[in-house]
């Protein structure tokens, strides 16, 4: 049986769904990487990533192209979801602590790589929350400086300056 006849879908709805599917395909790994970088918890990162995409899907009609790229809009949603999760975790921090398993090394990691990663993670730990957020948006999320500025609500030059300052600080921390 012809699938189109068996399950007719309005053209507009179909194109919207396809548009969102394309956005998902394009951004899913990066959104997950960004959320996981913020949360440092794979399980929580999966939940929050799914939650972010679902929120974005339900709010997709509220996206306004004039306010920035669709990716920046999606990362804004993911960021809010991740921050909400962080706040929840802070509230229950006294009762339980989520395992930070995102740093776990695979069996294929050899010693040099493990050392470099440990150094990098130690340097990252020296950053404050907003600096880690900036680094995560840039390198895990793969956003441009303009998109980072849109997500964080600042000017592009300010975002660039802060990013430069943060990565410079990170470089210094790696040498220490």
């Amino acid at each position: 049986m012809n699938e189109a006849i068996a399950d007719p879908i309005p053209i507009v709805a179909r194109s919207r769904a396809e548009g969102f599917a394309e956005l998902y395909e394009r951004t899913f790994p990066r959104v997950y990487a960004y959320v996981a970088s913020l949360l440092r918890d794979r399980s929580a990162a999966e939940d929050v990533t799914a939650q972010a995409f679902e929120r974005a899907y339900r709010k997709r009609r509220s996206y306004r192209p004039g306010r920035g790229s669709m990716e920046a809009w999606l990362f804004g949603i993911a960021r809010n979801a991740a921050l909400d999760e962080l706040r929840r975790r802070k509230r229950r921090a006294g009762l339980e602590r989520d395992p930070e398993d995102v740093d776990a090394l695979g069996p294929e990691d050899h010693a040099e790589l493990a050392l470099r990663r440990a150094t990098l993670h130690a340097a990252l730990a020296s950053l404050d929350g907003l600096e880690r957020d900036l680094i995560a948006l840039k390198f895990a999320g793969g956003l441009s400086n303009a998109e980072i500025a849109g997500v964080l609500g600042m000017t592009e030059s300010n975002a660039g300056t802060r990013l430069h300052r943060t990565i410079t600080k990170l470089r210094k921390a790696c040498h220490e």
């Binding site: 794979r42 990162a45 999966e46 962080l86 706040r87 390198f139 660039g160 410079t168």
Partner: protein, 404 residues
């Protein structure tokens, strides 16, 4: 001073170098610091966590099917209701898009609601011409009638009661149960009718008069740009006055009314007694004339008979006049044009100028109320807007406090 204190040009160059490395996937800068930043950027990207395949497949499936709600969940039920509504009303835009329209509607409706509540009810054509006045109670209850009758007896004559109808007992007198009482009544009615309904009301006055056995003594009707109106002098049988006045008041709006009554019972009884006496005298004179012995005596009796006959005729005329004045009430009806051209149903049927004038007055009224409402709503709205704007960074800061 730190070992690396870049200026803006250096910052731009190093940021560009980072972006180049991320695009190329390798560090290409010769400057050691820039190259180190490139390598750090590549390391950071390589260190990004990757989602598991299972999670990716699961989420991909959910995206493909459009994040279906769990069966029976609140969102699922709300979604099915929303879907049904959308199917029933496919042309309606989303609630978010409707918000401005809804806000504008609320702003427009608010003054109307305020007007309605301030007026204690829906607008009833104020400013749109004459409002039909409540129908005058032309026939008071029997107790009032008796009271008025007593007052009339005490005052004697010319008892003018503006705004109230004279009581009309079935016997035709002021005092119930005294049929011999003779009351001369005079009623004045001012009826307000629209210009285009003047002829119809005039015809109605004549028809009511005829229907109740009365007659139109005189009438005049005038129409034209200078003014429209009419005057009727009617005679209505006293025993039908109540019903006739009721019918007349139903023809148009009663703008005013006045009534007066004069008790002429004494005059009537006196005239009757004098007539009776005159007739007795005439009978006596006739008998004496038959018995008269001399011509002189007969001539004197004839002269006296002539005088008595004249007196009898005069008294008969007087009684006839009194009967006419008391058997028929004088009803003066004045027709005046209604201001604003409202017809008897209260609808606007005047000229275009009147309609525009009325609309202008209505708009001015609405504008006045709107200004008052805005005077209240604007500060509140501004405060709410400022509070909302102020709360945005607060909410953002509270959310970002999780990063600290």
């Amino acid at each position: 001073m730190s070992e690396h204190d870049p200026n803006s040009a250096t910052i731009e160059r190093e940021l560009a170098a980072i972006d180049e490395a991320l695009v190329a996937g390798s560090a290409s800068e010769h400057d050691p610091i820039a190259r180190e930043l490139q390598e750090l950027a590549l390391a950071l990207r390589a260190d990004s966590p990757e989602p598991s395949r299972e999670f990716g497949e699961e989420l991909h499936l959910r995206v493909r099917v459009g994040f279906p709600d769990r069966a029976g969940s609140l969102r699922d039920r709300a979604g099915s209701v929303r879907g049904s509504l959308r199917a029933a009303l496919p042309a309606l835009p989303s609630a978010r898009r409707l918000l401005p329209a809804m806000g504008a509607t609320a702003v427009l409706l608010l003054p109307i609601v305020v007007i309605v509540f301030a007026a204690g009810g829906p607008p009833s054509g104020s400013g749109g011409g004459a409002v039909r006045a409540p129908r005058a109670e032309l026939v008071p209850n029997p107790r009032e009638a008796a009271s008025d009758g007593a007052a009339g007896r005490e005052q004697g004559a010319d008892d003018s009661i503006a705004g109230r109808a004279l009581p009309v007992p079935p016997g035709g007198g002021f005092e119930p149960g005294r049929r011999e009482r003779r009351i001369e009544r005079s009623i004045s009615l001012e009826l307000e009718a629209p210009v285009d309904g003047m002829a119809r009301v005039a015809d109605g006055v004549t028809a009511v008069t005829n229907r109740h056995g009365g007659f139109v003594l005189s009438s005049s009707i005038s129409t034209g740009e200078d003014g429209s109106g009419g005057d009727f002098e009617l005679r209505i049988p006293a025993e039908r006055l109540r019903a006739a006045l009721r019918d007349l008041s139903e023809l148009a709006t009663v703008r005013s009314q006045s009534q007066s009554g004069r008790d002429v019972t004494r005059d009537f009884v006196t005239a009757q007694d004098r007539l009776q006496a005159a007739r007795a005298e005439r009978r006596s004179l006739l008998r004496r004339l038959e018995d008269a012995d001399t011509d002189a005596e007969a001539e004197a009796l004839r002269a006296r008979l002539d005088l008595v006959a004249g007196e009898i005729n005069g008294l008969r005329g007087q009684l006839r006049d009194l009967r006419l004045r008391t058997d028929y009430a004088v009803v003066m009806v004045s027709l005046v044009a209604a201001e604003g051209g409202a017809d008897e149903d209260g609808g606007a049927s005047g000229s275009l100028d009147d309609a525009i004038g009325d609309a202008g007055e209505l708009l001015v009224g609405f504008a006045g109320v709107l200004v008052r409402v805005l005077a209240l709503a604007l500060p509140i709205g501004l405060i709410a807007l400022v509070a909302w704007l102020a709360s945005r960074p607060l909410r953002r800061r509270r959310r970002e406090s999780a990063l600290a």
